[in-house]
Structure formats: structure tokens, C-alpha cells
């Protein structure tokens, strides 16, 4: 019998798990399939754009206004103070795993995407953005956008030309260049066939750092700052980054690539390692297939591999993510939440699910579909009854659009901490 059983180990589930385990609760996470951190930028967005598409500089101020304008929004259900504390909690937990994050003293900063666009975000890894870079951007600095020649999951020419057009960077002297290393020395894989993880592993061996540094210096020309696609190591990134700085004498920053996202995987690794070092139990390889609800309470859940009642807990948390992760599912003309068949906010007309233009500034309606909860994040069963010992957190929730608002990470972390605190109070009385 667990105190807390969490279904889905993404940013939301892991954060909730860490908080519960830290308080000594017997906590387990069951998670089949990887989470969306593997696709993410590795920066944590809090609130980047307003409903009228303006860039938000002060996210907490804006979140306060959401409470009035959109009471169904997950942020409207959580005290602002809890949201602030949850971001600090995450930063501290990641720091104890030596993954360091920058925040712009309570304000948003910009992260650069794989194609050289800029997006407002709240937390970025120190190798992506820090004070030094902030300073450099304000001065006439020479910066070079580099890639390994042949690596196909990152388009530095594209990034380069977009950054040149960006008014944020008009003080900078931007150039682009290629690092020449036609195959990976260890496995002899050609760069054309490699993805970010292969190159991250090359860095990870450390053996080739001097050689790579020489090539980087050649490609950098007279720039003092360079950017690389984000693959400076998956585990030893701090050490490798430092070594590269020493060997090249340059400032080096990372820009996210197409998936697999090394930056996101660093967060994933750090959170999982933190969770297990706090005594949490992580079940990978199996999925929750369903659960039994009796008298407004979940009595047990069962899994794909073990179809009998297998897991019992005092509290359950559903953090199975959105459509991509399988937390929400769609058929030809219906949408549903597959584990408990919870009440679900969606449009019955299929043509109202998406916008015609894929990159529409209006985003897509389906991104706001999801499980409906009360103010305490308890969902409703199909007859409309509140389920008292189940909480829903993260991307499985409805009434917010992580893409249009740039709010995914913040909603995941704050709903996680909010639910965790309620569970801790419930167990400790």
C-alpha cells in the first residue's frame, strides 16, 4: 500500500513524486513510455504570451490577472505564492543534482529555438542563457552560430539568418560556421547518420575534447562567443562545458536541436535520479490500464502487464500528459481519458479540433482540451462525481494552451507541488 501512487513520470509526475518522497511518504511512479521532456527545449516556460498574443515580461503579474479572466485555468486554481514556491522548489532540487538554472530575477528572458526564433521563457540551463550572455547581447559582440558539418537535426544557416533579422540582436556581429569532423571516432558512424545523442556521447567520452576544441577554434574565426547545437554531454555536462571553455578560450552556449532533446533529457535524468535517491520507487516498462472507483474513491489500479488489482494507495495522481504521451486519446470522432474515463473538456465537432494553418498564431483548440477538475484539482467521474483521492496535474489538464501561452512547464510544476502538498497534509493529518 503506497501513500501516493503517481501515474505518469513526466515533469509533473516527477516533481510531485520528489516532493512527496522528500516528506517521507511511500511514493511510487508508474510510467510507460518516455515523457515530453525528451522533445522540449529544456527551458521551463511559465507564462510567455497573453491572450492577445503580446509578450509577457512579468509572468507572476500576468498570472494574477488570469484568476479574474479565466477561472478554469489551472493557474487560477493555485495561490500565486504556491506557484512561486514551486519554481524555487524545482530549481533547488535540480541544483542538488548539479543541473543549474538561470532566471532573470522574477522576469522572463528569451531562449533561442532550433530555427533561430526567440521565445519568452522563465528558467533556462546556465549553458543556454546566463548573465554573461545577457550582457554580451547588449554590446557589440562577435558571435558565431556553429554546427558540426553534416549533422542534420539542426539548421544553423536557418538559425543564423533568422537571428540576423531579429531586432533583439541588431547590436551583435553574427556569423555562422561549420565544425569539421566527418565521422564519429568511436563508432565510425558518419555525421549524416548521427543524431544529437550520438554526438552527446562523443563529448561524454571526453577523449576527443582537445581535437574537437581545435576544430571549434578554427570554425569560430574571430568570434568570442559561439553557439553549438545542444549536445555537450548528457551526464558530465558541467565538466565537459568547463573543459571546452578552457581549451577554446571562448564562451560557449547551447541551442536546442530537433528531438531527442539533450537539454530536456538532462532534466529527466536529474529528476529521476533525485526521486530514487529520496527512496521513491519508479516502475518503467508498464502502463496503468485502468482503475476502479468506488464511493468517490479510487480503490486500486491495474496495469497492462498485470491486469488484476495490483496497486493500492491512499492517494493517486494522474500525470499522464497530453495526446503525445497518451494521457489523452482521440478516435475518429471522440476523445477520452483512457485510465479512469474521467470527465473531459473537448469539442464534439472534429473540425473544431484544429486550426487549418499548422503554424497558426491562434494555435490549435485541441491543445486546451483535457481533464476537467474542481478548484482542488480533483477530477470528476463519468457521472459527475468528484473523486476525492485522485489529483490531476500537468498536461492532462484542460483550459490552458501550453503552446499559445508558453506555460507548459510552469503548469506542470505548480500543479504538481500543489497536489503534493495536499497529499502530504492528508497523510500527516
Amino acid at each position: 500500500m503506497y501513500d501516493c501512487l503517481i501515474i505518469g513520470g513526466g515533469l509533473a509526475g516527477l516533481t510531485c513524486g520528489i516532493k512527496c518522497a522528500k516528506e517521507g511518504l511511500r511514493t511510487a511512479i508508474i510510467s510507460g513510455g518516455i515523457n515530453s521532456l525528451h522533445f522540449s527545449s529544456g527551458s521551463i516556460d511559465l507564462m510567455g504570451y497573453s491572450a492577445d498574443k503580446n509578450i509577457i515580461h512579468n509572468p507572476f503579474k500576468h498570472i494574477k490577472s488570469i484568476k479574474r479572466k479565466n477561472p478554469q485555468h489551472p493557474y487560477a486554481k493555485i495561490p500565486v505564492k504556491t506557484i512561486e514556491e514551486s519554481i524555487t522548489f524545482l530549481t533547488d532540487e535540480l541544483k542538488s543534482e548539479k543541473l543549474l538554472f538561470y532566471n532573470n530575477s522574477g522576469k522572463n528572458h528569451f531562449r533561442i529555438t532550433a530555427i533561430g526564433a526567440t521565445k519568452p521563457t522563465y528558467l533556462s540551463q546556465e549553458s543556454v542563457f546566463n548573465e554573461q550572455l545577457d550582457l554580451a547581447l547588449k554590446n557589440n559582440t562577435r558571435i558565431s552560430i556553429l554546427n558540426f558539418e553534416g549533422f542534420r537535426d539542426y539548421y544553423q544557416e536557418f538559425a543564423f539568418s533568422n537571428l540576423k533579422k531579429n531586432s533583439l540582436f541588431n547590436k551583435l556581429n553574427i556569423s555562422s560556421g561549420s565544425i569539421k569532423l566527418s565521422f564519429l571516432p568511436d563508432t565510425k558512424k558518419h555525421l549524416l547518420e548521427s543524431n544529437s545523442i550520438d554526438i552527446a556521447r562523443l563529448f561524454e567520452t571526453e577523449k576527443y575534447l582537445p581535437r574537437i576544441s581545435e576544430e571549434i577554434k578554427k570554425a569560430a574565426g574571430d568570434s568570442t562567443i559561439i553557439t553549438l547545437p545542444a549536445f555537450i554531454g548528457l551526464n558530465n555536462y558541467n565538466k565537459i562545458h568547463k573543459r571546452l571553455l578552457e581549451l577554446t578560450g571562448l564562451q560557449i552556449y547551447e541551442i536546442p536541436t530537433l528531438p531527442p532533446s539533450i537539454l530536456g533529457m538532462r532534466i529527466d535524468n536529474a529528476l529521476k535520479s533525485r526521486f530514487s535517491s529520496l527512496g521513491g520507487e519508479f516502475i518503467a516498462g508498464d502502463k496503468a490500464a485502468g482503475g476502479e472507483i468506488y464511493n468517490h474513491r479510487v480503490t486500486h489500479i491495474y496495469t497492462e502487464n498485470y491486469t488484476e488489482a495490483t496497486h493500492h494507495a491512499k492517494y493517486y495522481v494522474l500525470s499522464t500528459g497530453s495526446f503525445l504521451s497518451g494521457g489523452l486519446q482521440s478516435g475518429f470522432n471522440k476523445m477520452y481519458e483512457p485510465v479512469f474515463n474521467l470527465q473531459f473538456n473537448w469539442s464534439r465537432k472534429r473540425n473544431k479540433w484544429y486550426s487549418d494553418n499548422f503554424f497558426s498564431a491562434e494555435s490549435h483548440p485541441f491543445l486546451s482540451f483535457g481533464v476537467n477538475t474542481n478548484a482542488a484539482l480533483h477530477p470528476y467521474d463519468k457521472d459527475g462525481n468528484v473523486i476525492d483521492n485522485l489529483y490531476c496535474i500537468g498536461a492532462v489538464l484542460s483550459d490552458y494552451d501550453p503552446v499559445r501561452e508558453a506555460s507548459g512547464g510552469g503548469v506542470a510544476v505548480s500543479t504538481a507541488c500543489y497536489a503534493a502538498q495536499k497529499i502530504i497534509n492528508g497523510i500527516k493529518g
Binding site: G32, G33, N195, F282, D286, N305, Y306, E308, L324, G326
Partner: protein, 399 residues
């Protein structure tokens, strides 16, 4: 024509995440699960001549399937493609020896001292390498005197006296190579007031599948399904196994890969630590004495795929005195018979290198793992003895 049940490749969203978790792609030119699985499956269906021989490099560890967000049965697709499209010589003595674990076992347990004497000799190892391609660095598993089945019926005639019962699918390893594990299982289950029963069984088929002997694998699978469902129907006993790979095959591969109907038994089969965990949770715990050992625990790939690692760890954590280090989950490289082939030997060692290093760093007295071939691989590559969780539980039983 595309068979409808075979379209899981079409769920692939091309995210490349599986490649991150493939231990073979990490150390070799293997293009990775995405390319070898869903990407090229659509081409193979139309033009079988497009098959790429690097398919062989996949060790069927199933780590890609654990990672895939879209539930693509990547490893199953690759195994099926291997035997459907790759040309094989019909006479492959090495593969035959490696895959017919039951035949070899029956023979070797009759003359075990002679067989063990010979397989230990370096000259024999050299000839095995030369003629059939088993790497001479490998130590072949030793054989017992007689089968576990025989010993069981002779030494445990009183199993009827217990109120509860299970069927024990012992598998080849317990039957021919590791009687101690079988005896320890009986000891542990009996201490929980559970009696042990055996039925007629054949090799679960895992090594046959890995080596492409599909018809034989199907025959064995059907035999096991019949025999296990017959006793289950009569008695309603659960079926337990001490091998994570046998469990995975009986539960999932019989239907997913061999297209057989195993629905009568698939929910009744449990890997042993899950079964014991359920007893413990319901309050049925035997009295324990301390096992003062420092141990490193390695979780096998197929138990990861079953989602069963957590139960083993939970049981081990309950044993007083056991100082447990849980190793980071990674493939040991042997993948059943894979590491016993000279063409994959180096690969298999490269895959396991990180694990061997982390075992040395953990500095234990013993290593614990659930899988018989992981145990062989670790014993060959570190100086530690490897035990099964059931061995440790048996040490903890206070009589």
C-alpha cells in the same frame, strides 16, 4: 497484403527517442530501432529484397519499446523481420546448440561431470571457437547431475500439505544448470505456506526465437500453453517463474510475436518476486533473519519491460542486514544467446562495459540479478558471484 495486427509500425511519430535507449546503436554501426523497425518495415512489406543485414545486430533487449511514447512494438517488428526476410543457412550447428537448451540440457545432465570437465578446458573452448564460433573468452554454464524435475519429485513429496499452491514453470536453467535456485524457491514458498507443483513443460522458446527457429518455438509455446492452461483450469493455481525472460515470453511474446492464443494463461503467470510481493503485502511474511551482505542489484532488460523491477527491489529492501546498492539500469550486453556468438562478442562486451565498471565502483560482496544470462555475463566480467533474489530470500528464512 498487410495483416491488420502488424501495423504498429504505423503509430511511429518519428521522434527518434528509441535510438537514445538502444544499447547496440550506442556502441556500433547498427542504425538503431527507429530505422531498423518502423522506418524500413513499410518498405520490407512491399519489397522484401530491401532488407538490411544490420537487422541481425538487434539483441532483442526491448529497451526501445520501454521508451517509445507511441507503443510501437519495435523489437517485435525487428525479430519478425529477421526471421522472415534474412536468408539463413539451414545447418547452423552453433545456433542449434545455443538454442536447443532443453536438448543440450537433457544430454549434459546425464553426463554432467564429463561435460563440465570438457567445457572448462581451454583446448575445447578453442575448438568451439574455431568450428562453431562461440567466443573462447566465454565460460559455458555448468550442468547439474540430473534434472531438477527428478530431484523435485524425489525430495519434495509432501507439497500437498500446504493450503495454497502454485505451478512452478522452472525453465531450462533451473532444470539443467541451477538446482539450487529451484530448491531455494521451494523453501521460500513453503515458508509462506505455499506448495509447489510442476507440470510437463518445454523450453519457453526464447533462445529458439532469437536464433530464428520459429516453427520449433511455436511448437514449444503451444505445448506450454496447453499444459499450463490445463492445470490452471482444473486447480486455479497461479503460475510462477524465476526467469524474467521466460515470464516475458509466456505472458507477451507468445501472442505478440508467435501469434498464438495464450489468453488462458497470460494473466495467470507471474514473475516470482511479484507473487511473493503480493503475499508480503497481504501480511503473509515469513520470519526473517539478517543476511549481512553488501550487494549490488542489476535489473535485467526483460524484467524492466515487464515493469517488474520494483517488486524485486521491494523484497530485497525488506531483508534485514542486506546493504543494497541499486545499479543504474542498463543492458549487460549478453541478451540471451547473443553474447555467445563470436561475431557479437566485442559488441556485447562494449555494451556491458559501463555496467561492469559501476559494479566495481559499488564494491559489493555479491551481485544480485533476476536473469540467468545476465548472471553469466556479470560473473565472466567481474570478480563477483551473482545470485538470484530468491537465493537471498532463502538465506533470510528463519527456520
Amino acid at each position: 497484403m498487410i495483416k491488420l495486427q502488424n501495423i504498429s509500425f504505423d503509430h511511429c511519430i518519428k521522434c527518434t527517442i528509441c535510438n537514445v535507449y538502444c544499447p547496440v546503436a550506442r556502441v556500433s554501426l547498427f542504425p538503431g530501432p527507429k530505422q531498423s523497425g518502423p522506418d524500413t518495415e513499410r518498405f520490407r512489406i512491399k519489397s522484401p529484397e530491401l532488407v538490411d543485414s544490420t537487422l541481425k545486430l538487434c539483441s532483442n533487449c526491448k529497451r526501445c519499446e520501454i521508451a517509445c511514447p507511441s507503443n510501437v512494438k519495435i523489437a517485435d517488428i525487428i525479430q519478425e523481420a529477421k526471421w522472415k526476410y534474412l536468408k539463413r543457412r539451414w545447418f547452423r550447428p552453433r545456433d542449434l546448440i545455443l538454442s536447443r537448451t532443453d536438448l543440450m540440457g537433457k544430454f549434459a545432465t546425464l553426463f554432467n561431470s564429463i561435460v563440465n570437465f570438457f567445457t572448462r578446458r581451454s583446448i575445447v573452448k578453442f575448438f568451439l571457437y574455431l568450428f562453431i564460433g562461440i567466443p573462447y573468452q566465454k565460460t559455458l554454464p555448468e550442468y547439474e547431475n540430473g534434472t531438477f524435475e527428478k530431484h523435485f519429485y524425489k525430495n519434495y513429496p509432501d507439497q500437498n500439505k500446504f493450503p495454497d499452491h502454485v505451478v512452478f514453470f522452472h525453465g531450462c536453467f533451473v532444470n539443467y544448470n541451477n538446482h539450487k535456485l529451484g530448491r531455494d524457491l521451494v523453501k521460500v514458498l513453503n515458508s509462506l505456506n505455499v506448495g509447489v507443483n510442476l507440470v510437463k513443460e518445454k523450453c519457453c522458446g526464447v533462445p529458439l526465437i532469437a536464433n530464428g527457429y520459429i516453427n520449433k518455438a511455436k511448437k514449444n509455446a503451444q505445448y506450454n500453453i496447453n499444459s499450463l492452461s490445463e492445470i490452471h483450469e482444473k486447480s486455479n493455481f497461479k503460475i510462477v517463474s524465476t526467469s524474467s525472460s521466460c515470464t516475458y515470453a509466456l505472458k507477451n511474446e507468445y501472442s505478440n510475436l508467435l501469434n498464438l492464443d495464450n489468453s488462458a494463461i497470460s494473466n495467470e503467470i507471474e514473475y516470482i518476486t511479484k507473487f511473493i510481493y503480493d503475499r508480503f503485502e497481504s501480511g503473509n511474511i515469513f520470519k526473517m533473519k539478517p543476511v549481512p551482505l553488501r550487494a549490488a542489484y542489476h535489473s535485467p532488460c526483460h524484467l524492466e519491460r515487464l515493469g517488474g523491477v520494483i517488486y524485486t527491489i521491494d523484497l530485497l529492501k525488506r531483508i534485514p542486514g542486506l546493504d543494497l546498492v541499486i545499479l543504474h539500469s542498463e543492458c549487460c550486453g549478453i541478451a540471451g544467446t547473443y553474447g555467445f556468438k563470436k561475431e557479437y562478442y566485442k559488441l556485447s562486451q562494449d555494451i556491458g562495459k559501463d555496467l561492469f565498471r559501476s559494479i566495481e565502483t559499488a564494491n559489493p560482496e555479491i551481485v544480485i540479478t533476476d536473469c540467468e544470462t545476465c548472471a553469466l555475463q556479470i560473473e565472466m566480467n567481474t570478480q563477483f558471484k551473482v545470485l538470484h533474489p530468491v537465493n537471498i530470500l532463502a538465506m533470510a528464512v528463519k527456520e
